[in-house]
């Protein structure tokens, strides 16, 4: 706000004081929100680290089990068993609110299946197919869980970023400018008052002379 645009009137001063009060209240609230979000973020970050490690571990296991299945049953046997998969896992997307940030809540179904539900027969296949399917079901569950945690983390980060920008804008731009304008008006009003007093004194002196 350029000072030349400021009207040095009493009503403007009152309005400015109100805005300063509002900005300071907003600043405090946003600062609290930012701190709260950072706390939430660190909690989620711990979970995300654990989930990432778990995901990497499960991915390695799934790769190992599929390599073993390929080894024992051959790519032919594994492909033939893979043709059996008919029931595709389903995910249900809901949302929840963390300090005003909408984050996803993912629920999955039909991921874990028993060997009798997987679509291949037990008589014509061997246990390595079960072990590979188990490992990949584990991995899929981990991916879904990880997707939820990491999206939450990303949304929180975005929100922290924008809250931080608002806090900084209020702290370093809006409030200082408003305070400067208020001081300017105060100074101008004081000056105008002094001018008025001086003028009155001059008039009085001229009248007496």
């Amino acid at each position: 706000m350029a000072l030349r645009d400021v009207k040095p009137t009493r009503s403007e001063l009152i309005a400015l004081k109100r805005r300063i009060k509002l900005s300071e209240r907003g600043y405090k609230l946003l600062k609290m929100k930012r701190d709260g979000l950072i706390l939430e973020f660190f909690k989620i970050l711990e979970q995300a680290k654990d989930t990432r490690d778990e995901l990497a571990r499960k991915y390695e296991r799934a790769q190992e089990m599929i390599a073993i299945a390929d080894t024992v049953e051959g790519a032919i046997g594994v492909k033939a068993a893979a043709f059996s998969v008919g029931d595709v896992p389903q995910i249900e997307l809901k949302s929840k609110n963390i300090m005003g940030v909408v984050v996803p809540e993912i629920k999955s179904s039909s991921v874990r299946k028993s060997p009798t539900e997987r679509g291949y027969g037990l008589i014509g296949t061997s246990s390595v197919i079960d072990e590979a399917a188990d490992a990949f079901e584990d991995l899929l569950e981990s991916i879904i869980h990880s997707a939820e945690i990491e999206t939450t983390m990303k949304r929180l980060l975005d929100e922290i970023e924008s809250t931080k920008r608002r806090v900084n804008a209020l702290e370093f731009k809006v409030i200082p400018e408003l305070t400067e304008a208020r001081d300017f008006i105060k100074m101008r009003l004081d000056e105008m008052e002094r001018e008025e007093l001086f003028r009155l004194k001059k008039i009085k002196a001229r009248t007496e002379a």
Binding site: A67, G74, A75, F83, S84, D87, S114, P115, T116, G121
Partner: protein, 352 residues
């Protein structure tokens, strides 16, 4: 070339051929040597063996490890067809019936592949024509425009009755697991019927079928251990006709302690090889080790039977099984090396 017709001579001839072929299979020491080789060395060795012809034939369509695997499968299919061609009379009938398990695998692969919208080329890669359905028939099945049309082609085959009964339910549920289990159950029921129909050598055939059924049922019991599955859910995975009835198997599958399980199984099984193998399962082992020791027991016992009955169905069945496991082992070595699995790990999965 002299052709032997009539009398016991053809039986002697084919059983001798089987023994010769069996003696050419890779010995245990060779697998142990291969475990220490690199993948290119193993591939080169396989190329130098009897699989060379198939590798050369398929080299234009496949490469790398896929070429090795396809060549092994094609060699297996050709070998089984060659055995069918030289086997005479009732032995041929038994052998043909025994190889029908490959038809089940191929037919199901085609139906599933078509239902999943896989291309004809992809399905063809997965089919191993080692059964009674030849390559041309399977190719025609694959080329049909829908799975239903492929199923219609099976009308005159023994497996059609089960497919006709179970197919619509399988399509509706999206799972062909029950259909697959039913096909195998029917396959074993048909084998038992054939073996008990009064044909010469039927008793010996029956004995090996029942051993196979027992082994498969015991493998399934161990496979389902620790899974939260009720006895009712497993009703279609058990094969009747050998040492255990379906109800017994359902009950046994719910036994929790390993000692009680082994004791219950031991009471019913007759084959001494199986009894010994079961004794070895008293301590908890990974399921693949259980499966492997049972398979080894089955092969050893069949081998012994084939020596006791040199001119029967046994030499043929032993060779078919041992050849299958040679292919499985070579594939396991190649695939295991490609996946950088340690030699000890690969060895655990070899049937040697």
């Amino acid at each position: 070339m002299s052709v032997v017709i009539g009398g016991p001579a053809p039986y002697v001839y084919v059983c001798t051929r089987m023994r010769v072929r069996k003696s050419k299979l890779l010995p245990r020491e060779e697998y142990l040597r291969m475990l220490n080789m690199s993948l290119p060395q193993i591939t080169r060795l396989i190329e130098e063996m009897e699989y060379k012809k198939e590798i050369d034939e398929l080299a234009s369509s496949f490469d790398g490890i896929d070429l090795v695997e396809e060549a092994l499968s094609w060699n297996l299919a050709k070998e089984f067809q060659a055995i069918l061609a030289i086997t005479p009379g009732i032995l041929k009938q038994f052998t043909k019936s025994y190889l029908r398990r490959w038809d089940i695998q191929n037919v199901l692969t085609i139906i599933r592949g078509k239902k999943q919208g896989m291309s004809a080329g992809k399905i063809k890669e997965v089919v191993v024509p080692a059964g009674s359905l030849d390559v041309l028939f399977l190719d025609r099945m694959i080329a049909e425009e829908s799975a239903e049309r492929s199923v219609e082609m099976l009308k005159n085959l023994p497996l059609y009755s089960v497919i006709e009964r179970e197919y619509s339910a399988a399509v509706e549920s999206g799972s062909f697991g029950r259909l697959e289990n039913e096909l195998y159950r029917q396959f074993y029921a048909d084998l038992i019927d054939e073996a008990t129909s009064g044909l010469k050598g039927g008793n010996q055939f029956l004995k090996s079928i029942q051993l196979d059924i027992d082994i498969r049922n015991i493998k399934t019991i161990f496979r389902l251990r620790g899974q939260a599955i009720s006895a009712e859910e497993t009703s279609d995975v058990w094969i009747p006709g050998a040492s255990f009835s379906v109800d017994e198997l359902k009950r046994i599958s719910q036994i929790e302690t390993i000692d009680e399980l082994v004791d219950t199984l031991r009471k019913k099984v007759k084959s001494p090889a199986l009894v010994d193998a079961l004794e070895g399962l008293r301590e908890e082992k990974p399921i693949h080790e259980v499966e492997n020791s049972l398979t080894r027991a089955q092969l050893d016992y069949m081998d012994r039977l084939s020596k006791r009955n040199p001119f029967s169905i046994y030499p043929i069945l032993v060779y078919l099984e041992k050849k299958k496991y040679e292919v499985t082992n070579l594939r396991a070595l190649a695939r295991g090396k490609q996946a950088n699995l340690p030699a000890e790990r690969i060895e655990n999965y070899l049937v040697i």
